[in-house]
Amino acid sequence: MSQPTTDSATEETAESDDRLIETEVSVSETVTQPAGASTIIDVGDLSVYYHDDQALRSVSMEIPERQVTALIGPSGCGKSTFLRCLNRMNDLIDAARVDGTVELLGQNVYDDDVDPVALRRRIGMVFQEPNPFPKSIYDNVAYGLRVQGKADDIDLDAEVERALRSAALWDEVKDQLDKSGLELSGGQQQRLCIARAIAPDPEVILMDEPASALDPVATSKIEDLIDDLAEEYTVIIVTHNMQQAARISDKTAVFLTGGELVEFDDTQTIFENPADPRVEDYITGKFG
């Protein structure tokens, strides 16, 4: 998998303190599981601890294939921790301990014989801050394919173009592929990172607040892009912006403080008539 894994691990480790909780309770949650598309990731009884602090509490969730699933909740609720568990990014945090299962198409990604690097090719990730490598646009996108050793076996130019087209960036950069990725605007940089994430053709793309550092125009392009990506990929996105979750996702999972998954249902249901009064209070701003 490409380098952002390492870049972001440092950043995510620094943020992890915010997600620690003070009390430890072992709870097996019953969570609604929306019907619909087939399940690509089946999370079972997943708990995460940072040292002795529990950051995620017995979360079970079936994530539908080729849909957008949004994870929302207040700061420290465990949604980013949950996201990182899906492609074992938490392995990079020494203090983190994970219990439970995360099955990708039937295989537990935490089995001993699963190579985390290979896993991250199947479950790519895009982070909050655009983090292109200090390389050309072309090399940013080609990086993952070269690391995989595929560059000699495939038409690399064609694959780079495919990824850039899928990330809705091709038309803007096709005549300047040698230009440094760092010279692009913030929104373009983020789409370059998305192109880099999809170049190895993953099955799932994780996004951790991918538009929070962007202006409204760049944000709308990312949102349109996410909608397009869901035709081919499963997208799981953490966002603090509830309107964004409402706009772009098919399913929404609501985490509340303490690492508890409180409700998981169709996005329309969550935002129009949530079943759990705590979700109602959170999305209407009464939670606090």
Binding site: M242, E272, N273, T284, K286
Partner: protein
């Protein structure tokens, strides 16, 4: 509680809709009095006062749009704002119908051919019940309005039949035929408009039920 100003705006909206309903009902009950009395001055006051209701309706509609645009209400808050937005339209229409009834009452010089007052009272009580359901978030009361609408429709139908039967069986009598037909016509549209007031009460009840229970059965 977070978002205090937002919560204040929601409370203000609820109060505004309730106050507009009070004024609308005042106008309606005055119109019912005109149906009895035929008092032209009272009728004119009702008609002149309709501008106030129209302006209020537009102000509340603007408040709803502002809330949606600026505060992005969700879940029960969204249903409350959306329902309020629709309910003020029904209140404005009830105000218009009150003007119509006042005008008919003035033209008729009081209705003596058929006693419309009990029918008009039932329609007004339906509006009161629907608004009580809205302000107190009482879904059972909202549902009761629908049951009463069936009674109202039946009473309106019988009253209309009585008027037509009188015309057929009694003829125009000594009254000039144009005058008699005008009178019958006015009585029939009076009953029709009272029935429409009941329909608007049902609309308010339907939006209220949606607001409280996310149940749109009465709307569609």
């Amino acid at each position: 509680m977070p978002r205090t100003s937002y919560q204040d705006e929601l409370a203000t909206l609820r109060g505004e809709v309730g106050a507009m309903a009070d004024l609308t009902l005042d106008r309606y009950w005055e119109a019912v009095e005109v149906l009895e009395s035929g008092d032209p001055q009272q009728a004119q006051r009702i008609i002149d006062g309709d501008t106030e209701l129209n302006d209020w309706y537009l102000d509340i509609e603007r408040e709803c749009i502002d809330l949606i645009a600026l505060q992005q209400p969700l879940a029960s808050d969204l249903r409350f704002v959306a329902s309020s937005f629709k309910i003020v339209t029904d209140l404005e229409r009830i105000g218009d119908l009150a003007c119509n009834l006042a005008e008919y009452g003035r033209e008729l010089g009081g209705t003596t051919d058929v006693d419309v007052e009990p029918i008009a009272r039932l329609a007004g009580e339906m509006v009161e019940a629907a608004m009580a359901a809205y302000t107190t978030a009482d879904a059972d009361t909202a549902r009761s309005v629908v049951v009463r609408d069936e009674q109202l429709d039946g009473q309106c139908k019988r009253a209309s039949e009585t008027i037509v039967r009188q015309l057929v069986t009694d003829g125009v009598g000594a009254e000039p035929i144009d005058q008699r037909l005008q009178r019958v016509s006015r009585l029939l549209v009076t009953i029709r408009d009272i029935e429409r007031v009941g329909d608007h009460a049902v609309n308010i009840a339907a939006r209220t039920q949606y607001m409280i229970e996310n149940d749109d059965d009465l709307i569609y």
